[in-house]
Symmetry: C2
Subunit: 449 residues, 2 copies
């Protein structure tokens, strides 16, 4: 059944007050589908539906909602209902919630959280943003090294349902130091009287609380894990990061890169439509202003060649083509390098390798473009001198733009800046200055202006 | 221990012929680290190391290698060794391998694959590229609906180690129709004499063999699953897709978008350095050529305004700034819309909503840019008429570019083209034509040229 039909059925059940059927119907809807469903209902219906969910489902649905919907909902829930939600949700989701709510809502949430959970939340809130510590959850299954497999299963049966994942279980010593990991598969095929320390994998892929979250996602990618344990400075197990949270981070970091690469400085994760017109303008204006003012440099250079333009006004006709081609060549290269740096395929040590590669590509591409454009100019203007001038300029521009596009992201990385800054907009502006100078400079020499 | 030290230690053990220690040392290295380690060794050492691995590890390491390294390795392995690898690797990896090897290598691989596996591989090869069928693996754990939990555990113990994942198990009826899914967590907490059909979740998130792989990754994102079952047209369970493969697809599709958005038409997944200079040039030249020739339209329009330029040569100085600002504004918008479409946050139905939003943003951004630039012109040229001309042009360009950037990706999507085509390069070229026409058109009127 698709969403549209689900909503129709749901409203019908609700209008006919068939509460028992409705409860069963709701039970079978996936929690991840509720945000879109609730959005289609009016405020009153929303809260009725929400109150018909089981405790566990109510918490699951709550976590799936966008933060503005969460806030609206909290303001309409009773203290008891909030307490139920806070008892059910995972600690990492609780922390995300608290980070996004206004302070009056946070107060109400924390008053309705049991003290033991409040303590965990406060601990988690201490980790700097975008670190493994801020991403991890504290709900994992761990065993002491000296227990047997059958005791391990008892622990899972007893605690497992409340834990975010049982796919990987962790083995610690008496000091809670992380010793090993056991995949549930290996636990299942083991003999019941074996000690967990004898079947654990001691070669643990782990991270520490202060590691950058982007580095953590790279580990997920490389080692294909479903969870990565997080240890503190004393190598004590303090949490785990699950793959679904890692995937969210990958998506967020990619969006950030896409935006940064066209000069958008966004500070929120809100969707396109949720972001206000004013906020969109604010996110975009900074780089536009900077680039607009930088582009006047190119203009000023052109005015210095007023004589050349007056003598040969046709020259102006080639400016857009030269500027655009330079910009396009440069941003092709810079994008490849930025992505290569982001995925660790390229490192700052590859500086010379990149230059050497781009130089050869530029020569090949430059000559082809110059040749085809030369033919076009000969046909259109029957002027071999101009064809030569434009051709030489094109080749020089392609070389310069590919080198600039290859070098700047690596330099940015070296300077601990985000390489994604060195993308199309800034490369285009820099290449423009080069293009215009070279073109008019050469023209002045070739035509003795 | 970091990679550098691992390699040092490894070479030392090898040089001292301490084979037993070496074998143990290798056992503790993660398979995903081997590709980088092997690359640092000469050919002879590579094959010795590879032969010291256990059967399972050898297969795991083999799968991690880049395809050119796999080919090299196969050519140096004996038939028996190839048979061992092909017995151990998962079927989806086998299919990937066969798709990337040259035909003589494929022959040798298939001759050394046992007939039952060869049949599965041939089945999987039939699914069109980039579909769920081509991505799935056939190694999953499934139960008949009528067995008990304790029988289910026996099945897992017996088959589990050979299956790609046991985290989710699938329940089918006698016709192999997919009825439900059981998370291993729920199986562990269930009573041993319960029937699996009584504890299964019937609300299965599933896909079919011909579904686009990008849609499948969206399901992983939305529903936070670790595996999604794949059914055929008769709703029979034929395979599963695991989250690690979904993450790889997300990465690939993102790279494709990044490249397409700067006019790179890449056909391989090879890394930057693995791609030859010639291939790089080939990937980039097509769009460069098209855009270069398109940009000459802007140039030709400018030559039509030769009079304006001759009368007021200063006008030329504003061309780069106007062109760049238009391009930047347009690509900011188009990037946001392309991403919104890719993540389903924006749909083609949102056409008018996007236009209305961008129009308001453009007015706000346009006025700010025009105002600040106006001040700059007044200071630099003391000419209020030119400041007005450039200001009005700027506002019009910002509006046009933001609308074009918002509309084109949605139209592309409607026409079943990849919206990522409508990014910076093409938007810039289109906006250029508009910018130059409006600027000189307005100038002609305002200055009575």
């Amino acid at each position: 059944m698709d969403l549209e039909n689900i909503i129709k059925e749901l409203i019908e059940l609700l209008d006919n007050k068939r509460i028992k059927d409705l409860r069963e119907f709701l039970y079978n809807i996936n929690s991840a589908d509720f945000p879109s469903i609730l959005l289609e209902l009016d405020d009153e219906k929303q809260i009725i539906i929400y109150r018909l969910l089981t405790k566990e489902k109510a918490a699951e649905v709550f976590v799936e909602l966008e933060s503005d919907e969460q806030e609206k909902l909290i303001n309409r829930l009773t203290d008891v209902e909030i307490r139920n939600v806070m008892n059910e949700i995972y600690m990492d989701d609780a922390v995300d919630l608290i980070e996004e709510m206004p302070s009056n809502v946070v107060n109400r949430i924390l008053t309705n959280t049991k003290p033991s959970n409040r303590k965990i939340i406060n601990e988690l809130l201490k980790y700097p943003e975008e670190t493994a510590g801020s991403l991890m959850t504290t709900e994992f299954v761990d065993f002491n090294e000296n227990i047997t497999v059958s005791v391990a299963f008892d622990i899972i049966k007893q605690k497992g349902l409340k834990k975010e994942t049982v796919y990987n279980c962790y083995v610690v010593n008496d000091d809670r130091k992380l010793l090993g990991v056991i995949d549930i598969k290996n636990l299942l095929v083991a003999e019941t009287d074996e000690l967990v320390k004898d079947i654990m994998d001691t070669n643990v892929i782990k991270t520490n609380t202060l590691e950058d979250q982007e580095e953590v996602t790279k580990m997920f990618n490389k080692y294909d894990c479903v969870a990565i344990p997080v240890v503190d400075k004393q190598d004590m197990l303090v949490g785990i990061i699950t793959i679904d949270d890692a995937v969210d981070v990958i998506q967020e970091e990619t969006e950030e890169d896409f935006e940064l690469m066209v000069g958008i400085t966004s500070t929120t994760d809100d969707s396109y439509f949720k972001t206000s017109v004013f906020m969109h303008a604010k996110n975009r204006i900074l780089w536009l202003l900077f680039l607009m003012l930088s582009a006047t440099i190119t203009g000023t250079i052109m005015t210095n060649f007023e004589n050349a333009i007056a003598t040969l006004p046709i020259l102006v006709a080639f400016i857009p083509m030269l500027m655009d081609t330079g910009g396009n060549c440069g941003s092709q290269t810079s994008t490849l390098i930025i992505r290569g740096l982001a995925t660790d395929e390229i490192t700052t040590k590859d500086f010379l390798k990149v230059i050497w590669k781009e130089l050869r590509i530029a020569l090949l591409v430059g000559f082809i473009l110059a040749f085809i454009n030369g033919i076009r100019i000969l046909i259109q203007y029957h002027n071999i001198l101009i064809a030569t001038l434009v051709g030489i300029t094109l080749i020089l521009i392609v070389i310069a733009s590919k080198l600039i596009g290859g070098i700047l992201p690596i330099i940015a990385k070296k300077m601990k800046l985000d390489p994604a800054l060195m993308a199309a907009p800034i490369i285009t502006t820099i290449v423009d200055i080069f293009s215009v100078s070279v073109f008019f400079g050469l023209a002045t020499i070739m035509f003795n202006i």
